[in-house]
């Protein structure tokens, strides 16, 4: 049993092969032109016919599935129609997903292509967290709700927390803060495996500042800028998503990991601002959970969580009662391995894979 995980980024496509035990067999980063319609062709060119025969399914990361997609979804006409219906909620990511999935299916007509939606973990987010302070009829009509954007890492954090609790023979971690340290970082408060709060919003702009995304803003700032004629909505969209965040505070491109480590003075502003926002999000998460059993760091910079842990222990040591005991776990697996797991489980549930000829 083998699964091929495909993750298309801006200029590269990461492809990885996993066996039935979730062991990573191989992986490559393929350059491409960024066109989602060319993903299937580029992957097919790389994957030899022997390799493709050996693979039982393809899994590709899909950024947005709204509340419609709550699990892996196999790509077919019905899925495409459903995606078309939710496209107005997030036109760009849904459009990319549809084009990528179609191109993969065209390139590998005999293989199931599964879509792993990042938002599926948050499909049942309670209304009190998902809604904004606006007319709910308007929000329903325009499909406005908080969704969260790193669902697979948060889902994996739940499993990592369970493993850590088992390993350390501590009581079950039922109240978890999952801190995903990706270029667009996100914190989720998870109770008994279900999210109750998340910093990400309707778009990934909201929440903690990212490497290039602004994070929380007073809404009137954007309106004031438009009103002044300094920038238009399109330019502001660019500022909020691509020119803001940590790089704006550091004065140039920077990684979240470098900001967390803060090993030179030029990063101090970005570091202190980000840490303050994180502390607030942690406190909000603990209030949402009504306590804390564990913190799980994940994402490509999960290792930087070790620096954060020191600061968090100090701050929470003051804010929380001494009787509150909480542990820390580091989930350093790559996202491709996280995506492979549910696909393998799904394949196993489907029974023995018929041998291909």
């Amino acid at each position: 049993m083998k699964v091929l995980v495909v993750m298309a980024r801006h200029q590269t496509i990461d492809v990885s092969w996993f066996d039935g035990m979730k062991v990573r067999l191989d992986g490559q980063s393929l350059p491409y032109d960024g066109d989602p319609e060319s993903v299937g062709r580029v992957v097919h060119e790389r994957v030899s016919s022997d390799e493709s025969r050996a693979v039982d399914a393809i899994v590709t990361r899909a950024r947005y599935g709204g509340i419609r997609f709550r699990d892996l979804a196999v790509w077919n006409e019905a899925t495409d129609r459903a995606l078309e219906q939710i496209a107005p909620e997030a036109p760009l990511p849904v459009g990319i997903t549809r084009a990528q999935a179609a191109s993969l299916q065209a390139a590998f007509p005999d293989l199931p292509v599964w879509l792993a939606f990042e938002t599926s973990f948050f499909a049942d987010l309670p209304e009190r967290e998902a809604l904004y302070g606006l007319d709910p009829v308007f929000m329903t009509e325009h499909r406005i709700r908080r969704t969260g954007f790193h669902g697979w890492y948060h889902r994996a954090a739940v499993h990592a927390a369970r493993s850590t609790a088992r390993r350390e023979r501590s009581r079950t971690w039922s109240r978890i803060l999952s801190i995903c340290l990706e270029p667009r970082p996100e914190l989720a408060a998870i109770r008994d495996g279900r999210p109750v709060m998340v910093t990400g919003g309707m778009t990934p702009f909201e929440g903690l500042p990212g490497e290039s995304s602004c994070g929380d803003l007073d809404p009137s700032i954007l309106l004031k800028v438009v009103d002044s004629g300094r920038l238009g909505p399109e330019q502001l969209n660019q500022v909020a998503g691509e020119e803001g965040g940590l790089q704006a505070l550091a004065g140039g491109p920077v990684t979240l990991e470098a900001v967390i480590r803060c090993d030179h003075a030029g990063l101090e502003l970005a570091h202190t601002v980000w840490m303050e926002r994180l502390i607030r999000a942690v406190g909000a998460g603990i209030a949402a959970l009504g306590g804390l059993d564990g913190v799980v760091f994940s994402g490509r910079y999960a290792g930087a969580g070790r620096w954060l842990e020191i600061g968090l222990r100090e701050r929470l040591g003051q804010a929380l009662e001494p009787s509150v005991m909480w542990g820390v776990s580091y989930f350093s697996e790559r996202l491709d391995a996280v995506l492979a797991e549910p696909a393998i489980l799904k394949l196993m549930a489907c029974g023995p894979v018929p041998e291909r000829t």
Binding site: G215, D218, A281
Partner: protein, 401 residues
């Protein structure tokens, strides 16, 4: 010293005459329906000593209202003010301390006029009229943002490009500072803790605006409101926090008309937008009507309380070892359900409420359980007294000299 405090609304002028430093109220009231004629005439509702009264006065603008109030006070011996203090909602970075008014302050006031388009212009116009009519009367301007000047850069900075932070001046200012400062000072005094060692979260929950303030050593270190009073909690008609992407989508929906979106988010969102019926959270906490109406009311109260609870947890963490949570203003003082809901299940922060006390409260009162490390105070705010204290602090040295 008799200090006359003016608190300007868009069509009203509240006033209070206080004898300082004894803090004795001599007179007070409100000039109502200032502006173009309406179906009902402009009037001043007031009391001098213990005598309540109403006087019909034509008041086309705030300058007329000021003159009427001064005439009214002048009719009673011993009621002539010796100093005037004006409340300013948004002092920006220019007026981040309480200042005696002079030419330089007037220039700064003009520079911040548009920062709060509804509140600042009438306050500045009233001040200007007062200065023209009574040039020898010392005047002080006290801003709601001044208390928050101690918010550190780490909390005041938005992750925006430098030109937006520095050239356009976008940063967190924080609001309701006069009220937060008052209740924090009162709570510290009642707990017998020196202000410079007092840590707390102050919850100013008005029937209109609302904000939380994180306080360390008696100083504001964070406030839920931001550059404007729109950010933060869900308020009566204000949305509070919004995804920046959502703000941009609303702009697109309204054809790029920023004024329209701003008006919508300030006047038709929040509790009013969520409930569709009432801007008062009390109506959603105790709903009546059809099942769909009640369900919508329930959603409204849940969203309102949840946002409040998250910010309370955030600020208890920011503050560190909090001594107290303080509830004030209309909702904070009068709605025990709100206090109970946001303080429930917060034992991890050392917060335990005495449910019985909370329901029978007569402010000022501590409604925390005996074994609660963090005390929970309900304190009536008194912004006018806080302004008079600030004015007295500013003027007392020059009077003594």
């Amino acid at each position: 010293m008799r200090v006359l405090v003016f608190n300007c609304g868009s069509s009203s002028l509240k006033f209070r005459l206080l004898d300082m430093p004894a803090e004795r109220e001599l007179a007070g009231g409100e000039a109502q329906r200032i502006g173009p004629p309406t179906a009902l005439p402009s009037q001043i509702v007031y009391r001098v000593g213990d005598q309540p009264a109403t006087r019909i006065e034509p008041m086309a603008n705030h300058a007329d209202a000021l003159s009427a109030v001064m005439r009214l006070l002048g009719e009673t011996p011993g009621m002539v003010p010796e100093a005037v203090a004006h409340r300013l909602v948004h002092g920006g970075s220019r007026l981040d301390t309480d200042r005696q008014v002079d030419e330089a302050v007037m220039r700064d006031l003009e520079a911040v006029r548009d920062l709060a388009p509804i509140h600042n212009p009438p306050a500045i116009d009233t001040l200007q009229a007062c200065r023209s009519a009574f040039p020898d009367l010392p005047q002080v301007v006290v801003s709601d943002t001044a208390y928050h000047r101690t918010i550190p850069v780490s909390a005041a900075t938005y992750a925006l490009p430098r030109f937006m932070r520095e050239d356009l001046g976008f940063r967190k200012y924080g609001f309701h500072g006069i009220s937060h400062q008052y209740v924090v000072t009162q709570a510290a005094a009642m707990m017998g803790i020196p202000l410079e060692r007092f840590h707390a979260v102050s919850c100013h929950l008005g029937s209109g605006g609302a904000s939380l303030c994180a306080v360390q050593g008696g100083r504001s270190v964070d406030n839920t409101m931001g550059y404007s009073p729109l950010q933060g909690l869900v308020m009566s008609t204000r949305s509070g926090d919004l995804d920046p992407g959502l703000t941009l989508r609303l702009l697109a929906h309204h054809g790029g008309d920023a004024d329209r979106v701003e008006s919508y988010l300030n006047r038709k969102a929040g509790v009013l937008g969520l409930s569709g019926r009432s801007a008062d959270i009390r109506d959603s906490l105790n709903p009546s009507g059809s099942i769909p109406v009640q369900e919508r009311a329930q959603t409204t109260s849940q969203v309102y309380l949840w946002r409040l609870r998250k910010y309370l947890g955030a600020y208890l963490t920011v503050v560190g070892r909090a001594d107290a949570i303080i509830f004030t203003d209309t909702i904070g003082e009068c709605v025990p359900d709100v206090r109970e809901a946001v303080c429930a299940d917060m034992e991890c922060f050392g917060v335990r409420m005495d449910a019985r006390l909370n329901r029978t409260v007569h402010p000022p009162c501590d409604v925390a359980a005996v074994d609660s490390r963090v005390r929970i105070w309900v304190i009536l705010t008194n912004e006018e007294l806080s302004i008079a204290r600030s004015a007295f602090r500013v003027l007392a040295p020059s009077c003594a000299a």
